[in-house]
């Protein structure tokens, strides 16, 4: 009914992220079924879908925490080549530690709850080889500041902080090394609506100021609408529809997307 789209003509940059035909099965559950995604530098790709749609599994694959049964994944970075799913554990760890930042829904996954917040950020710098205490502190402070974290609490352990603040620490940790790719897994789910708005605003501002390439997974259409340039709708491990954010929300094509969008608005 609609036209098929051309390949990009104006954007002369190559895609930063290219995932092709990613499939993964757990037991007899097909979590991902031939999922492909392309993300250009500076772009925000939103992935929406209900629970069990495979969106989080796909994000974990992009963070190299999961290895799919088939498919390829490349990042267009100077010293990173080949299918990243083929990397060994050590190479994956180094790549994720230095080039990919992630913010989890559950701060307990991403943070050391009893260490200081600045220490949580500093850990990433330490892994990258920073060995000067004062530089560590300065860089941690900068990253926390960019995440709009109150600096007078920068040495408080996350366990004493509110959920919104914990997400900011995760964010600061993720951006401390200026990652090439920032992955966000339901970053605001579980936060109060008012706090959600603040965290989203921080993300939006960071994205605009630093042009960080992001992939954000959420079941919350409002979050996706606020942040994403492009949206990928997933269901049952498959990509249902993909398009510009406002187009997906205003002119959804697939029956499922229409249901999803009209359920929300």
């Amino acid at each position: 009914m609609t036209l098929t789209l051309d390949a990009p003509q104006l954007v002369d940059t190559r895609p930063l992220l290219l995932a092709r035909h990613v499939s993964k099965t757990y037991g007899n559950v097909q979590a991902l079924n031939d999922v492909s995604a392309t993300v250009y530098p500076g772009e925000v790709l939103g992935i929406v879908g209900e629970s069990g749609s495979g969106k989080s599994t796909f994000l974990r694959c992009l963070n190299l925490e999961e290895t799919p049964d088939s498919g390829s994944y490349t990042l267009d970075l100077p010293d990173v080549g080949g299918n990243l799913f083929d990397l060994d554990r050590y190479a994956r760890r180094m790549l994720c530690a230095t080039r990919i930042g992630i913010v989890y829904q559950n701060p307990h996954l991403g943070l050391l709850m009893k260490h200081s917040s600045s220490g949580n950020v500093a850990e990433r710098l330490l892994v990258a080889g920073e060995r000067r205490f004062h530089t560590l502190r300065d860089k941690a402070r900068d990253a926390l500041d960019a995440s709009e974290f109150p600096l007078d609490r920068m040495d408080a352990p996350p366990i004493e902080l509110s959920g919104g603040m914990q997400q900011r620490v995760q964010l600061a940790k993720a951006i401390a090394l200026e990652p090439a790719l920032l992955l966000l897994d339901e970053p605001t789910t579980g936060l109060d609506v008012s706090v959600q708005a603040l965290v989203l605003d921080t993300l939006k501002r960071l994205q605009q100021e630093r042009r960080i390439t992001m992939v954000i997974v959420s079941h919350d259409l409002g979050v996706i609408r606020t942040l994403a340039d492009r949206v990928m709708v997933m269901r049952g491990g498959r990509v249902v529809e993909e398009g510009l954010a406002d187009q997906i929300f205003q002119d959804p094509q697939a029956a499922y997307t229409q249901q999803l969008v009209h359920a929300k608005l």
């Binding site: 009914m1 609609t2 036209l3 098929t4 789209l5 051309d6 390949a7 990009p8 003509q9 104006l10 954007v11 250009y40 772009e43 708005a197 603040l198 989203l200 605003d201 939006k204 605009q208 100021e209 606020t226 340039d229 492009r230 993909e242 398009g243 510009l244 406002d246 187009q247 205003q250 002119d251 094509q253 697939a254 029956a255 229409q258 249901q259 009209h262």
Partner: protein
Amino acid sequence: MTRVLDVRGLSKGFTMHHLERHMAAFQNISFTLDAGRFLLLKGQNGAGKSSLLRTLYRSYLAGSGEILFHSAHGVIDLARAADVDVTLLRQTEIGFVTQFLTARPRVSAEALVAEPLRRAGRPLDDALAEARHWLKTFGVKPDLWAAYPTTFSGGEQQKVNLARALILPQRLLLLDEPTASLDAGARAALVQRLAELKAGGTAMIGVFHHPGDVAQLIDTEIDLTPDDKLHEDQPHVAL
């Protein structure tokens, strides 16, 4: 004159899956638009005026036809352009002014207005200064500049919206009833800004509930009312 837009045989319909029906929005629209020209879309409610604008902006996917946009990078068919290309054009060459502001929560009015400039790479202070200038021009009270637009009245929101949409001159500007809830002062400021942009070479396509507001700007009209789908022939005569 520089061609900006060349629309050929454009049609749009909606498949309503829950009704199992296909509904046409508009069919077989063709027109051309040059730089510095203003095209008015007319028609009854439901004739597809807003739908056409949204299709041109690619918020709607076209059903068939071509939207040849003469961008700074060359000619590109907006109906088929890749999403990233559309994103790029929206950031640099195509503006869209809607009836409604969808403000992000907890972002100040001035920050919201400055955003297009920031995205274009202007330094923060500079961008904010210009944002304030336009907020002032459209008649937003200074004490509201740092407040969140979500708390504003409809009219004030619309002013913020206009300031944001018109702050950066673009090659093509799509206007969807921008005067809807404006007071006289803001309306005058809007018409003046539009005239300024028009003189600067911006091509515009607008839907206006009261076209009289912008009468002196209009160059061409298209009536989308279904029986006689297309009148692109007569240039508008200013009254």
